[in-house]
């Protein structure tokens, strides 16, 4: 195995382009290293992108925030501005593994690892985030919702590297939230995860809504119809019950060591309702 630590994106892309065999991009490494030590992946090349300028930074941009691909979730949690604007995304990133893992794990890595249960992904979906991707053909911005395509699969080419994730500006009266269900209080993979982003008008009526679900299908997904259910409502109990029903209905989960199908379907609805309430509360405060 070779380990390379380039200092520009272009060099990194070129290394990947020239490499034979299996390559892995290394940011926090909390997934890549587990795959390597367990023997699941035996890479011939590891490209460490942490030495590339900007990958370790969170910068304000057009009222939103650009989060470098190597920024650990702990750093997101320490960033007051980001936390105020996108608390749901930050709390989702803050749920990835232990304190130790949060010192390394990145949301870009969480996205690229393409686990259906990745905690930050439903929150990013709900936030309508975009990924800046550098590849052989140059740089492009891709909605995060277009990136995961299946369990462990993405739409990215082998030479594509996510450089940063952009969380947009948002109108006042907005709030987001993420919760997952796990059997313990920490250290588990989500059995169900729900991210919600809302905007309310001054009267408390919902004007925009995105709801995303994780761990209940092959990839995280945006809940279709959530907008129709929520927008125009005051998020009353009946509306939230309809949302819960829609969330449960949209699940296509599996039975596994982490939970049964029935359990995931039911809890997806429960969380959709609970998380929407939290997001609404935050929106009312903004």
């Amino acid at each position: 195995m070779r380990y390379l630590a380039p200092d520009t994106m272009e060099a990194a892309v070129a290394m990947l382009a020239e490499a034979d065999g299996t390559s892995r991009i290394l940011a926090g490494g909390t997934d890549v290293l587990v795959q390597m030590t367990s023997g699941l992946v035996v890479p011939d090349l590891v490209v460490d992108i942490k030495h590339i300028a900007g990958t370790n930074e969170i910068t304000e941009e057009d009222g939103g925030y650009r989060i470098g691909a190597a920024v650990p979730s702990a750093a997101m949690n320490e960033h007051a501005g980001l936390k105020a604007l996108w608390p749901g995304v930050v709390e989702a990133a803050d749920l990835i593994g232990s304190t130790q893992i949060q010192g390394r794990a990145t949301i870009a890595g969480n996205l690229c690892n393409a686990s259906p249960a990745a905690d930050s992904v439903p929150a990013l979906f709900a936030a309508n985030a975009t990924a800046r991707v550098v590849g052989a053909g140059g740089t492009r911005d891709v909605p995060v919702t277009d990136i995961p395509t299946g369990v462990g699969r993405t739409s990215l080419a082998p030479t594509d590297i996510i450089q940063s994730i952009y969380l947009p500006a948002r109108p006042s009266g907005s709030g987001d939230a993420y919760q997952r269900f796990i059997p313990r209080t920490e250290m588990d993979i989500a059995v169900v995860g729900v991210g919600v982003s809302l905007t309310l008008d001054a009267g408390g009526t919902c004007t925009a809504a995105r709801v995303a679900l994780g761990a209940v299908a092959e990839t995280a997904f945006l809940l279709e119809g959530a907008e129709e259910i929520l927008v125009g409502s005051s998020l009353d109990d009946a509306t939230l019950e309809r949302l819960a029903g829609a969330a449960s209905a949209a699940c296509k989960p599996i039975d596994d060591k982490r939970g049964t199908k029935e359990f995931r379907i039911k809890v997806a609805g429960v969380l959709a309702r609970r998380v929407t309430k939290i997001a609404a509360e935050r929106a009312r405060g903004n």
Binding site: P183, D188, K257, G259, E262, V267
Partner: protein, 755 residues
């Protein structure tokens, strides 16, 4: 007939009962302490094991030639490299450390390599070609006892069944305990409840994987360094497996990173020594966590049926239990212990418990803290909770009404001597936790539990050094801070400061055989041996003082670390401290020492009662433990902090078992959660503080009244949590783990039934 009564002191302690810093504390907080994987040797190779990917398969052939040819590979061993015939007691270990003709579970060792580094060893494993013929397999206990179940061992006839079955089955052995007329007992009952219960297997979950370093030498100086609960057991098992005399092998116990019974089984040591013998180099082996889960431990899973009858005023008239314990691929003794402990808390006129050890294609079973007891306790204490509800009786009052007392015949046979069940229940009843109101939205559960506690083979040596300090050599690894207690007991008996005693874990060539650190025996059995050895040293020192004073030996007494004249003819001499006697030892008879060898009896049974307050999220089935209290008899708590630690640790292991731990097998017979991510042991944020209430009812089998405390604490939690969930939700869980999906399914069913 001699009744065991060694009790010489039950008050006025100076060192025993205090909380001094443990002697190995600084090493452990600075990273200096050397555990199993922390030892290195010049020229050391790395050993790795090839494991069966099939849960059950005939091994047609093994071709290791490509691995042997790989650059850097120094040895490959298979079953052929071990002794062909070993004593009956080592047979299962011989077949478990390396599969003989048949792999009995996924993860069963098939071959091993030693190579210059980890990467080479791993590569070599991939080059070994094993021709397997997969066989039908069976994983779950109920599948294993089905009529048409695939047989794990062809032709195996159940032992201990009357009449003897003619047809082979997966039931390895049967046992039965009890007394009285069950039919009459049930006929006399006003209420009879009968329920089935199931529990999943749980792993001991020690954080340190098995590890050892072996260095074979033909000249009779073979050495093993390993993390084990019993290095004498390692020596006495490894030597015959390699066909060498016991004296040719010295085993040194490393610091051990948890065991809980799981490190009473031998896995790596004979393999490492065989690789060392073949390669001529030291070989280190360390398991991965995946190997620990797939190939070691765990304890039984189970299927049980329990039936209990009571009168309206709360007296148990009859109790009957049938236990099918999944006992891994070789069977064992866990169902026996389960059957014996099933009703041991209660004084019953009619009782029966029957155990069945059922073999499956799972790893060889290992003991886990009070092996067998927590499983049946879940069933019995859950059913008792239901019965108390039937008659609206407080669960502790109900248990008090039926508690075993001195003179009662135990459900496993013998008649009880003085025991502490009643006092343990009364202490729980009077505990502030139990008398506090149950917080809104929560439910409270209680359960009692029993464990035997053991003594066993013990040999210790105590040496008085030239400055009057003392070194105690013991032969049982310290798995939880026991060295502190050893020093305390030696200091107490000798009347010297705690700091003046050092306790070491001696290697196997330095002492007589010591039974493993298990069965809650260490503080009890080492302790009584240390006290006896100290007494021998004291007698010796008094004799020397007498000679120097020119007075009769019986005119000298020992007090506060000094020889003192005592009695009418003793004369008037200043007390002679141990330091002076030690300094003068070269001229008064040479070195001063005491030693003691015993197969210690009189460990004394113990009882515990646990109280839990929990809440349940009705929409997700998740249980939160808000308050938890352990009440248990310690006899005499030598170092109360470490006694509390045993109570707290056992309780939390039990809480984990109750709620979220458990083996998860795929349809292919392979374990799907072989890691800490999905084998969900409790983490710090899952728990409240665990209140520990120590009761001290002296054990007459020990000079200071000590009884074992290590195991009882894992017995009551499963039922305690189940009973608390019942209080909080109305749902009675009859299966463990009571995980959110399992509990939510019951809650939904319960709600539907109510509607």
């Amino acid at each position: 007939m001699a009744e065991i009564n060694r009790l010489t002191k039950d008050s006025g302690f100076k060192v025993v009962g205090t909380r001094p810093p443990r002697p190995d504390g600084i090493d452990k907080v600075t990273g200096k302490a050397k555990f199993g994987a922390d030892m290195f040797a010049p020229g050391m190779l790395v050993g790795k094991i090839l494991r069966s990917p099939h849960p059950h398969a005939k091994i047609r052939s093994i071709d290791a030639s490509r691995a042997e040819a790989l650059h850097g590979v120094k040895a490959v061993v298979t079953a052929a490299d071990f002794a062909e015939k070993v004593p009956r007691s080592h047979q299962a270990t011989l077949h478990n450390i390396m599969a003989h003709g048949k792999a009995l579970y996924e993860g069963h060792a098939v071959a091993a390599v030693a190579a210059i580094d980890n990467a080479t060893a791993k590569k070599a494993l991939s080059l070994i070609e094993v021709d397997y013929e997969p066989l039908p397999f069976v994983i779950d206990v109920e599948d294993a006892i089905a009529e048409d179940a695939p047989l794990v061992h062809e032709g195996m006839i159940t032992r201990g069944m009357d009449p003897k079955p003619e047809k082979p089955s997966n039931i390895e052995s049967a046992c039965e305990f009890g007394h009285g007329d069950l039919d009459a007992g049930f006929a006399a009952a006003d209420i009879v409840l009968e329920r089935e219960f199931r529990t999943e297997a749980s792993h001991q979950g020690y954080i340190e994987p098995h590890a050892c370093l072996a260095n074979y030498s033909d000249d009779g100086n073979s050495e093993l360094w390993c993390c084990t609960q019993g290095h004498f057991l390692v020596r006495d098992t490894t030597a015959p497996l390699l066909g060498i005399p016991v004296s040719k092998l010295r085993v040194t116990a490393s610091e051990i990173g948890g065991g809980f019974g799981g490190k009473t089984v031998i896995y790596l040591e004979p393999v490492a020594l065989a690789l060392s013998r073949k390669s001529g180099r030291p070989v280190k082996m360390v398991m991965t966590r995946d190997e620990v889960f797939r190939a070691t431990g765990p304890t039984s899973s189970s299927y049980m049926n329990v039936k209990i009858g009571i009168t309206k005023d709360g007296r148990i008239t009859a109790a009957d239990a049938l236990l099918f314990y999944q006992s891994g691929c070789y069977g064992g003794f866990i169902a026996q212990l389960g059957a014996m402990s099933a009703f041991a808390c209660y004084g019953l006129d009619a009782v029966r418990s029957r155990g069945r050890e059922v073999v499956t294609n799972r790893p060889m079973q290992a003991s886990y803290r009070a092996p067998g007891a927590p499983i049946i306790n879940f069933a019995v204490e859950s059913l008792l909770d239901e019965l108390a509800r039937e008659i609206n009786m407080d669960p502790i009052e109900f248990r008090l009404k039926n508690a075993a007392r001195e003179g009662d015949r135990s459900s496993y046979g013998p008649v009880y001597d003085q025991i502490g069940m009643v006092r343990t229940l009364e202490t729980a009843r009077d505990h502030p936790h139990y008398s506090s109101p149950v917080p809104a939205g929560q439910g409270r559960g209680v359960a009692a539990g029993f464990w035997f506690n053991f003594g066993g083979l013990t040999a210790i040596s105590l040496n008085v050094n030239s400055d009057g300090t003392v070194t105690v050599s013991v032969g049982r690894p310290d798995i939880g801070g026991s060295r502190a207690a050893m020093c305390q007991m030696a200091a107490e008996e000798l009347g010297i400061p705690y700091e003046n005693v050092r306790c070491i874990i001696a290697d196997t060539s330095s002492l007589g055989f010591n039974d493993t650190t298990d069965g809650s025996r260490t503080t009890f059995a080492n302790g009584l041996a240390i006290i006896e050895a100290a007494r021998a040293a004291i007698k010796n020192m008094c004799g020397r003082a007498a000679k120097m004073w020119g007075i009769p030996e019986d005119a000298v007494a020992w007090e506060d670390g000094c020889a003192k004249p005592s009695g009418p003819n003793a004369g008037d001499f200043d007390p002679m401290p141990i330091s002076e006697i030690a300094r003068k030892a070269p001229n008064t008879g040479g070195p001063i020492a005491g030693h003691y060898e015993v197969n210690a009896d009189g460990a004394g049974v113990s009882f515990g009662v646990h109280i839990a307050d929990v809440s349940v999220d009705a929409e997700t089935g998740r249980t939160t433990v808000h308050r938890y209290t352990v009440v248990q008899d310690a006899g005499k708590a030598v170092h109360p902090s470490y006694v509390e630690g045993q109570y707290q640790g056992g309780a939390v292991q039990g809480i984990g078992w109750a709620l979220n731990e458990g083996y998860f097998y795929g349809k292919d017979g392979k374990m799907e959660n072989p890691g800490f991510l999905d084998y969900r042991m409790p983490v710090a944020s899952d728990l409240p503080m665990i209140e520990a209430a120590i009761i001290e009812i002296p054990n007459k089998g020990h000079p200071y009244g000590v009884r074992g405390v290590g195991e009882t604490s894992i017995v009551p939690p499963l039922a305690t949590i189940g009973n608390a969930i019942r209080s909080a939700t109305g749902v009675r869980m009859t299966e463990v783990p009571m995980s959110p999906p399992a509990l939510l399914a019951q809650l939904d069913g319960f709600k539907q039934a109510a509607e």
